[in-house]
């Protein structure tokens, strides 16, 4: 029997943009066990709810995670609106969907690039990030900031899209779709890419359900579950179905994310086509009281907000459960029996967002 060695992975590691520490117990080249150590990004921002008022908390929630900031803020605003009985105008709901889907596109393109970098395909990384810059340009032109768009307010949205901007967004989407079609051949069909992703980090359908995976990690194992199907916001008027792949390996997860970029493009087109006229936001009076839970679909999976209000401007309790938190137990089940060289690819395949997880 060969000797067991412990190899630390992180907190500072070239493949990870964020600090996470995993202790890998290896026997020769084979990983036997993975022990995570978290807390490097913990800020304790849920506590800020006792210092800032509930309007200011939107800005804090956006900074739970910069990559899916729009969707965090939407979830927070929806929860507060449910508590206060505020009816959002349908134009605001559609605008939220447009920005949410743009964020999903930029998050998935970012991930696809990082994933390509993880298995050493640097030119593909550059190509994906080149396409992603088009989404960032749209964000900047429409909302004024590239990453954290800050368009949500309790009761609606802050910014509007003019007819000219909508036409420009549609033109950009056509170009993006064309560029993605070219890259599809590489990321999904190239045999060098397949040799690094097919059959690595397999998680079966039953395992995924048992371990409570979320988002593309869950759908990559053949489970048809997407929180957008709950029909929150304007999603109830839009026509789409969850993207599912049955294999449960790294390739399946990247396939799901790639197809979801196309899905987002279709959703933005639908939302722009049906965009109703109306006000952007309704006036909100009073303070939230009671308890409420909202679930939304983030690029990484299901995100849950629990808010308890006590009738003052500060909230009693804010609890955020993020998708990467749900995806860490599945990750620890995928790592054993893989080769050490595949560890970065498998860790990235769940799209870890440590800043979400630790808040």
């Amino acid at each position: 029997m060969s000797k067991r060695t412990i190899i630390p992975f992180g907190p500072q590691h070239p493949v990870l943009p964020e600090p996470v520490h995993v202790k890998l117990v290896v026997e020769d080249e084979i990983v036997k066990e993975a022990v995570p150590a978290l807390g490097y990004v913990h800020r304790g921002l849920e506590m800020l709810a006792s210092v800032r008022d509930y309007h200011q908390m939107i800005n804090v929630c956006e900074r739970v995670c910069g990559i899916c900031s729009m969707i965090h803020a939407t979830c927070y605003c929806q929860t507060i609106e449910k508590m206060m009985g505020v009816e959002v105008t349908s134009r605001a709901e559609y605008l939220r969907v447009i920005w949410s889907e743009l964020h999903r596109m930029h998050s998935h393109l970012l991930w696809l690039g990082l994933f390509a970098d993880a298995f050493g395909f640097e030119s593909l990384f550059m190509q994906f990030w080149k396409v992603r810059e088009r989404v960032m340009d749209i964000n900047e032109a429409t909302a004024g900031n590239r990453v954290i768009v800050s368009v949500n307010v309790v009761g609606g949205v802050r910014a509007d899209l003019s007819g000219e901007q909508l036409r420009w967004i549609l033109d950009e989407l056509v170009i993006m779709e064309k560029e993605l079609k070219e890259m599809e051949k590489t990321i999904l069909n190239d045999y060098t890419v397949k040799s690094r992703t097919v059959g690595k980090g397999v998680m079966t359908h039953d395992q995924a359900l048992e371990l409570g995976a979320a988002g593309p990690t869950l759908r990559g194992s053949g489970v048809e579950q997407d929180m957008r199907m709950l029909g929150y916001g304007a999603y109830k008027h839009l026509d789409f179905a969850p993207v599912v792949h049955p294999d449960g390996d790294c390739f399946a997860r990247s396939w799901v994310r790639f197809q979801e970029v196309y899905q987002s493009i279709r959703l933005v087109r639908q939302a722009i086509a049906d965009l109703p006229e109306g006000d952007l936001a309704v006036k909100v009076k009073g303070n939230p009281e009671g308890e409420e839970v909202t679930r939304v679909e983030q690029p990484r999976g299901e995100c849950l907000y629990y808010i308890k209000g006590n009738g003052t401007k500060n909230l009693d309790r804010l609890r955020i459960r993020t998708p990467t938190f749900a995806n860490i137990p599945p990750l620890l089940a995928m790592l054993p029996e893989c080769e050490l060289a595949d560890v970065p690819v498998i860790i990235l395949s769940i799209d870890p967002c440590i800043s979400c997880t630790e808040r």
Binding site: P11, R43, L48, G66, V147, I148, S355
Partner: protein, 145 residues
């Protein structure tokens, strides 16, 4: 002669290392965006490395918490001199929006000396590139003095 060669190339082709010290990822993805085709800092000879022992410039994002401040100090000490540190984003400067949180130290300069401050929430890629160029000027002064 050899030292002169190294001094010259260090200012002409700095190697940068990025460490996330508890940011929201906004500044991190903007730092990474600097490397990609639209901004492409590699045309200035800047390259991103993963090993602190190879790095000349350290880019730090995030508000620094009580757990990772020792990691940050450790990375800083492993870098060879002369070295420059750039703090990125409102969090890296003062703690930003998170300054009231219980686990936040608030600012990179409370742990290690910082040479250049890049504001913004998140900082724009242009501002980050500007910060690196500013750090290179300091580099040349440090070498001369």
């Amino acid at each position: 002669m050899f030292k002169g060669f190294i001094d010259k190339s260090r200012a002409k082709s700095p190697w940068i290392m990025h460490f996330d010290c508890g940011s929201c990822n906004g500044c991190d993805i903007e730092t990474l965006a600097c490397l990609t085709p639209l901004y492409d800092v590699e045309r200035f000879g800047i390259i991103n490395v993963g090993n602190p022992k190879h790095a000349d410039v350290l880019l730090v994002t995030g508000c620094v918490n009580h757990r990772n401040k020792s990691v940050l100090r450790n990375i800083y000490e492993q870098m060879p001199s002369p070295k420059a540190v750039i703090a990125i984003g409102a969090c890296g400067l003062t703690g930003g929006i998170f300054r009231d949180c219980y686990n936040v130290v608030g600012g990179v300069d409370k742990v290690i000396p910082v040479d250049v401050y890049v504001p913004g929430c998140p900082a724009r890629p242009e501002a980050i590139i500007d910060g690196v160029v500013e750090a290179l000027n300091l580099f040349q002064q440090k070498q001369a003095g």
